[in-house]
């Protein structure tokens, strides 16, 4: 009981006192996850739109595989990226292991299937409603899919928020490829894991509350940025 009240008080103190270490960790978390989501959106939206409009042999298997990857464990992603980027790995010469760039790569890999699978469903549903008409107006399949992503931008934004939530809250991949180096690759989730292992539960919980608060703020900002639904205009007279 005390742990919760202590951590609430500590979280408030960390925020109100503008603790530099805390804000550095929060800033890095947001930068890494936002960049990973931007990269993931580029690939995931393209893949999702493409899979919604093309027809090819084995498409069902590809969609099934993509849906399966929704449950991709972040530690597995971390391990694969670690093996690729380690000195003896094929990309070891890049020298980016234990850097924020490696963390961005790992989180991007984590969110691409999520964005791809969900956006494919969004486009496929919209195609059923308007695909024929867009085709009749002259839109080729991929262009029609791109237009439908714009048409369904609120749903797409929700997909991207979900992806951001997954990226910013995961710990396994960033821990493995980032190494949780203080001041370099320490993000909120790895800091929470570290403080927990050190037995500093109030600080770990406080960081957890800050993490939740940050995600909530992002959600509120996105909700405020969305235009309100227009009022229905009266019928013809």
């Amino acid at each position: 009981m005390n742990a919760f009240s202590d951590s609430l008080a500590l979280a408030a103190q960390l925020i109100t006192h503008a603790d530099a270490t805390l804000w550095r960790i929060v800033g890095l978390s947001l930068r890494v996850s936002a960049t990973a989501c931007a990269l993931g959106a580029l690939l995931g939206l393209l893949a999702g739109a493409w899979l919604a409009v093309v027809r090819f042999r084995g498409q069902g298997a590809v969609v099934g595989a993509l849906n399966t990857l929704l449950a991709l464990p972040s530690v597995v992603v971390g391990l694969i990226v670690y093996l690729l980027l380690s000195r003896s790995g094929p990309l070891g010469s890049w020298g980016i292991l234990f850097t924020p760039t490696a963390m961005v790569i790992a989180q991007s890999i984590l969110v691409v299937p999520l964005i791809g699978a969900l956006s494919r469903q969004v486009v496929a549903d919209a195609l059923r409603e308007g695909g024929d008409q867009l085709q009749a107006m002259g839109a080729r399949p991929l262009l029609a899919a791109a237009l439908l992503l714009i048409h369904e931008r609120r749903a797409v934004l929700t997909v991207l928020l979900t992806a951001f939530g997954r990226a910013v809250a995961e710990v396994g991949a960033v821990m493995i490829v980032g190494g949780n180096i203080d001041g370099v690759t320490r993000v909120m989730t790895t800091a929470i894991a570290l403080e927990t292992s050190k037995g500093d539960l109030p600080l770990a919980l406080a960081l957890g509350l800050v993490l939740l608060g940050v995600v909530a703020l992002v959600n509120v900002a996105v909700a405020l940025a969305q235009p309100r639904q227009g009022a229905v205009v009266g019928g013809l007279s």
Partner: protein
């Protein structure tokens, strides 16, 4: 009269379903052709075949080789409008039709004013009433300056006053020289708008007659006569 689209022995099959049996049909410039028939008789399939959205499984579809390439537009029962403003929807339709940017800028206000929506140009298109949405769809069609306007039951989901508005616009477009091909269940509308009627039954073209003859013919084939009387085919 100039033949714009000709179907020769053209048929369409969707898997095991024969949607259209082999038929011949010539669409002339200035025609106001109405396709009538029961649900599932092949009206929409024939519209899409004439518009080139479907390829014939047998036979062939040929386009007029005279003058510029044919431009067509299609209007659906429920127009699909993107979650954008009225103006953006119109601009997008013209862009998809390949209308150059300068020409688009000129045509958009004209098209909006043609259908009486200029005051609603900045409204979200999806917030318009059904009749207004169909008028926007007509503006999109009119804006591309089509030779042929295909209409798939364009007023089926509208209230009577919206129906009148849309019919009036269609009538005006036809008066301006646009060729019309429409499918409709509304025989009154067919009488008002069409100059020629094709009756389809189970994917088969039963008759192709001028409108007055179709409605006043004493010796229509039984399927068409039954349809006109509103009788069910199994009674």
């Amino acid at each position: 009269m100039t033949a714009l689209v000709s179907l020769m022995d053209a048929s369409v099959r969707f898997g095991a379903v024969q949607a259209l049996r082999p038929l011949d049909l010539v669409l002339h410039r200035g025609d106001r052709l109405a396709l009538v028939g029961a649900n599932g008789s092949g009206k929409t399939t024939l519209l899409r075949l004439l518009n080139g959205q479907l390829a014939p499984c047998t036979g062939q579809r040929t386009l007029s080789s005279q003058g510029n390439p044919l431009v067509s537009a299609m209007l659906f029962q429920r127009p699909f409008l993107l979650n954008l403003s009225v103006r953006r929807n119109l601009q997008l339709a013209l862009w998809l039709a390949g209308v150059p940017a300068a020409e688009r800028a000129a045509r958009v206000p004209l098209a909006l004013s043609r259908v009486g929506l200029q005051a609603l140009a900045d409204r979200p298109a999806r917030s318009l009433s059904g009749g207004q949405q169909q008028r926007l769809a007509l503006a999109r069609a009119w804006g591309v300056r089509p030779d042929i306007l295909f209409l798939d039951e364009p007023t089926a989901s509208l209230d009577p006053s919206a129906k009148r508005e849309v019919e009036t616009l269609i009538e005006e477009f036809a008066h301006d020289g646009m060729t019309l091909v429409m499918s409709s269940h509304n025989l009154g509308q067919v009488k008002r708008l069409a100059s020629r009627v094709v009756h389809l039954d189970a994917g088969r073209l039963v008759v192709d007659l001028p409108t007055d003859q179709f409605f006043n013919h004493d010796a229509l084939p039984p399927e068409a006569a039954q349809f006109l009387k509103g009788e069910l085919p199994w009674t």
